[in-house]
């Protein structure tokens, strides 16, 4: 299933330039700029309320930045809608799992293929002709993802019955089903035990390695961040206070202050 995209970090594909976002008087983001290169794993870290999730939400169009631009594949934009972002190849997972609890794992992942389906609702309902062919193709792709994430044994299990760690994995599977070029992961390892975290780390690295997917993730576990990311962006009170390789960030005074706290 590999597309042969050997992992080497390429050019900038996503550029965030001076983005500001406020909710009433609360400044969630102020003039944040950073860029993401093709095939890299970029972690966004920061204390609670630093604006990390808001940043992701701006990237895939859930929120609209009041200032600044986001350039994706060379196309600068001020506003985008989530479905447009998805169509452009940005997929995401959520901090609080957002799956259809009553549906099986397989069906949940199939919904990730929704944008790729071309036949109309009526043909699909009849499961006839092109709709059938299309469904088989999509199912094939979904099975590759199921194999990739090793969730064959729960293929037909309703998501609501699964433990938390597996639900997170299903959510990742659904995001992958859209064959994204950029994958946004909002705390993919929150609430997991050590073993589940290790598994998830391996899957994130494998996704990046096998499909060449660019990954932007938010994570609190510093061990994980330092282990798997190529670069780290640090936010605090909506401002970018640091950026660089994990080692650079670890040595950055502003970052240490933000995490350990200093007298203001």
């Amino acid at each position: 299933m590999s597309n042969g995209a050997a992992r080497h970090i390429g050019d900038v594909i996503l550029k965030v330039d001076g983005v500001s976002l406020s909710f009433g008087g609360v400044k969630a983001l102020s003039e944040v700029s950073f860029s993401v290169r093709e095939h890299e794993i970029l972690a966004i870290i920061g204390p609670n309320g630093a604006g990390k999730s808001s940043m992701l939400n701006c990237i895939n169009g859930v929120y609209h930045a009041q200032q600044g631009t986001i350039t994706f594949w060379g196309e600068a934009r001020k506003q985008i809608r989530p479905h447009q972002a998805a169509r452009q190849g940005i997929a995401r997972t959520f901090q609080n799992i957002a799956l259809f609890k009553g549906m099986t794992v397989l069906d949940n992942i199939m919904t990730g293929r929704n944008l790729k389906m071309k036949t109309n609702f009526l043909l699909q309902a009849l499961y006839w002709g092109p709709a059938q062919r299309e469904e088989l193709e999509h199912r094939n792709k979904v099975e590759e993802i199921i194999d990739f994430l090793q969730i064959q044994h729960i293929r037909k299990t309703p998501v609501g019955r699964l433990p938390y760690g597996l639900q997170k994995r299903v959510e990742l599977a659904r995001a992958l089903a859209a064959e994204p070029t950029v994958l946004l992961l909002d705390e993919p390892m929150a609430g997991m035990n050590v073993e589940e975290k290790q598994d998830m780390c391996r899957f994130v690295l494998d996704v990046n390695d096998e499909f060449g997917t660019t990954i932007i993730l938010i994570e609190h576990d510093m061990g994980v961040v330092m282990d798997i990311s190529d670069r780290v962006v640090v936010l605090d009170y909506g401002r970018k206070i640091g950026e660089g390789t994990p080692d650079e960030v670890r040595a950055n005074k502003a970052v240490i202050d933000a995490y350990l706290g200093v007298a203001h």
């Binding site: 590999s2 050997a6 199912r139 094939n140 099975e143 590759e144 199921i146 194999d147 990739f148 090793q150 064959q152 044994h153 293929r155 037909k156 290790q198 494998d206 390695d209 096998e210």
Partner: protein, 651 residues
């Protein structure tokens, strides 16, 4: 030539490919769909790989390591090695790298065919201690793209090499197959090694084919059987059922998608011939029972009512015995329609004609349960050295506590010391590079010493009680058969493992491992909170539960005059689960008695010195290879024992 004449596995394979090319040989579920390989395609796959191995320099007499779950390609690798006159050596896929060093070194492995990255990594990890591996061939390429070592190649690459080699030397493959003789070694299986280093058991084509033909004839297995190949390839049972018998009878083997999906895959395939160690039957039953507890009142009532009916007459009806009343037959038929049939379907056992269990003693309730719902579950007895072919229970002649009569072509006798001796056409050629061990295990008249103690009952059925060397004596002089006691304890669903001590002691004491799933469920029902294994095993309520089990065992032992003195006087619940990773169990989950006695010497002292609790710290190894320490204060309890007279009065 027909398959009935072929005398080596490669010839059997080619014969099936010639005479019935389009029949299914192997299935594997891949990307959610069952893929089928016909005999002719399977033969082509084997030929391409064999030629590829030959091109890489694999020669007659070389050993080929095979490591991984049951994958069609790994079975073909076995056949490919045999085609070239080499010997496949399957290793336990869950063994840690350290454990593999000895076997690889002993078998002088130069070539290894492995399943995936995990196994490749293990071989690389031990490369400094065993640098002899010249070629590693992997099935699943995932994660291996960046491995640049030139001695690592994919299965396809080697097959590609093979196809070129085959074109350039079109005669060589058939020449090699023709050069194979029936008394060549066909496979080497390392025994799990309850004591000492593992030994490589060399089995010839002739002996495996003898065992396979005997078994197929005994149960009339034909080419239409479906089996699920899910047991470790390194185990003799899988070799006999999924390889030797499949090639002799020409039936289809089905490889599950992954180890986690076996139960789902089993339902989809519906095997007609099934083999499982007792623990698998036990897990299945536990799941059924847990789900029944959660079912609605009506369903639960129906289940219990009809299970009572089945217990009363199910096994008799299965055996076709007379004396079952018309009323019971009617009720059973109704039960079959409403409960047993659907239950068999849920278990994936609707189509089973013959099911076997072996490897350990099976609990009476468990055995009766499967037979009473109409599954023809039988027991067999055998060992790696005898191709798992010594005794088989015939249809209609099944007894709970025996392993059946000697199989066709097998002679069984009991030595003076009670040891079971076997002579047949299905015996090992030798232990690899161990002439001393070979000489020790086969006596002057050609009988193999099984090391098991047993006797024949009045119907000529063999009854195994314990390992001959484990049978000890209490200080009083009475016989002490630890396995027998442990098995009786383990028949309770709440007890997962038990270790009994008593040799050269005044009385018998025991360690018990609770079954986390069963006791956990029990605790939940009682609203008993617990945080994990250690906590649960230390609860007084749990001690009480297990004490009742121990006392029931004591009551049973009291009834047998030869064993009444080996009742369990004191016991404790171990603070950690016995684990093969900590060397406490073998990979086939047999207790390593000596090792445990040494490791937990403090606890044994505490048991015999009458203390009521003991503090202990134990090193544990996690699955990823890290180590940690478990600390606990282990309680010790007295169990009631029964005098034989007391029981008689009470009863």
């Amino acid at each position: 030539m027909t398959p009935a004449d072929a005398d080596t596995f490669p010839r059997l394979l080619l014969e099936h490919a010639r005479s019935r090319p389009d029949r299914p040989a192997v299935r594997e579920k891949d990307f959610g769909i069952w893929q089928t390989w016909t005999w002719s395609r399977a033969a082509q796959e084997v030929r391409a790989l064999a030629c590829g191995l030959a091109a890489l320099g694999f020669k007659r007499g070389d050993n080929l390591a095979i490591i991984g779950d049951n994958r069609p390609r790994l079975y073909w690798a076995m056949a490919a090695a045999q085609c070239l006159g080499g010997v496949p050596v399957p290793l336990y896929q869950d063994a840690v790298a350290e454990e593999m060093v000895y076997v690889l070194d002993n078998a002088e492995i130069r070539f290894a065919v492995v399943e995936d990255q995990e196994q490749v990594d293990k071989l690389l990890e031990i490369r400094d201690r065993y640098p002899g591996v010249e070629h590693i061939i992997y099935d699943d390429p995932r994660g291996l793209r960046h491995y640049e070592q030139d001695y690592i190649s994919s299965y396809e690459e080697v097959q590609g090499l093979g196809r070129v080699h085959d074109e350039e030397h079109p005669e060589s493959f058939m020449t090699e197959v023709a050069a194979g003789r029936a008394d060549d070694v066909a496979i080497m299986l390392y025994t799990s090694g309850t004591t000492g280093k593992p030994k490589g058991v060399c089995q010839t084509h002739a002996s495996l084919i003898f065992a396979a033909r005997g078994g197929c004839g005994f149960d009339q297995l034909g080419s239409d059987e479906e089996v699920l190949s899910y047991l470790p390839m390194a185990w003799v049972g899988d070799n006999l059922f999924s390889y030797a018998q499949a090639l002799v009878a020409g039936f289809t083997i089905n490889c599950p998608e992954s180890a986690d999906t076996v139960l789902i895959d089993m339902r989809e395939i519906g095997p007609t011939y099934f083999f499982a160690p007792p623990r698998i039957f036990e897990n299945l039953l536990t799941q059924v029972m847990i789900r029944m507890e959660d079912a609605g009142t009506l369903k639960r009532a129906m289940f219990h009512y009809f299970m009572d009916v089945a217990r009363r007459c199910g096994a008799e009806i299965l055996d076709g015995k007379p004396g079952v009343g018309a009323g019971d037959r009617l009720l059973y038929a109704l039960g079959d329609l409403m409960i047993y049939g659907p239950l068999r379907n849920v278990l994936g056992m609707s189509r089973i004609r013959v099911a076997y269990t072996a490897g350990a003693a099976i609990g009476p309730d468990l055995f009766r349960f499967y037979r009473s719902i109409g599954i023809n579950l039988k027991q067999l007895y055998g060992a790696t050295e005898t191709c798992a072919y010594v005794c088989l229970q015939p249809d209609g002649g099944v007894k709970l506590d025996t392993v059946g009569k000697a199989a066709p072509g097998v002679e069984v006798k009991i030595a003076a010391n009670g040891e079971v001796l076997v002579k047949s056409g299905a015996m090992l050629k030798e232990y690899y590079k161990r002439p001393d061990a070979t000489a020790e295990s086969i006596d002057g008249e050609g009988y193999f010493r099984t090391g098991d103690a047993g006797f024949f009952d009045q119907d000529g059925h063999l009854k195994i009680i314990d390992r001959a060397k484990d049978v000890g004596k209490l200080k009083s002089g009475g016989m002490f058969a630890p396995n027998y006691i442990e098995n009786k304890l383990k028949f309770f669903q709440y007890i997962r493992e038990a270790v009994a001590f008593g040799h050269q002691r005044d009385e018998v004491c025991a360690f018990v491992n609770i079954d986390l799933a069963a006791v956990g469920n029990w605790a939940e029902r009682r609203g008993l909170p617990y945080s994990g294994y250690v906590d649960l095993a230390g609860k007084p309520e749990v001690y009480q539960l297990i004490q009742e089990c121990v006392e029931k065992v004591n009551a049973e032992l009291a009834q047998d005059p030869a064993l009444s003195h080996s009742q369990v006087h004191r016991f404790l619940l171990l603070h950690k689960e016995l684990d093969p990773d900590d060397d406490e169990l073998t990979r086939t989950r047999k207790v390593r008695r000596g090792f445990i006695a040494e490791k937990y010497a403090v606890l044994i002292d505490a048991l015999y010195s009458g203390r009521t609790s003991q503090h202990i710290e134990t090193q544990v190894k996690f699955e990823d290879g890290r180590t940690g320490v478990v600390r606990a204060d282990v309680m010790i309890r007295e169990a009631r024992t029964f005098a034989p007279e007391q029981l008689r009065k009470a009863g």
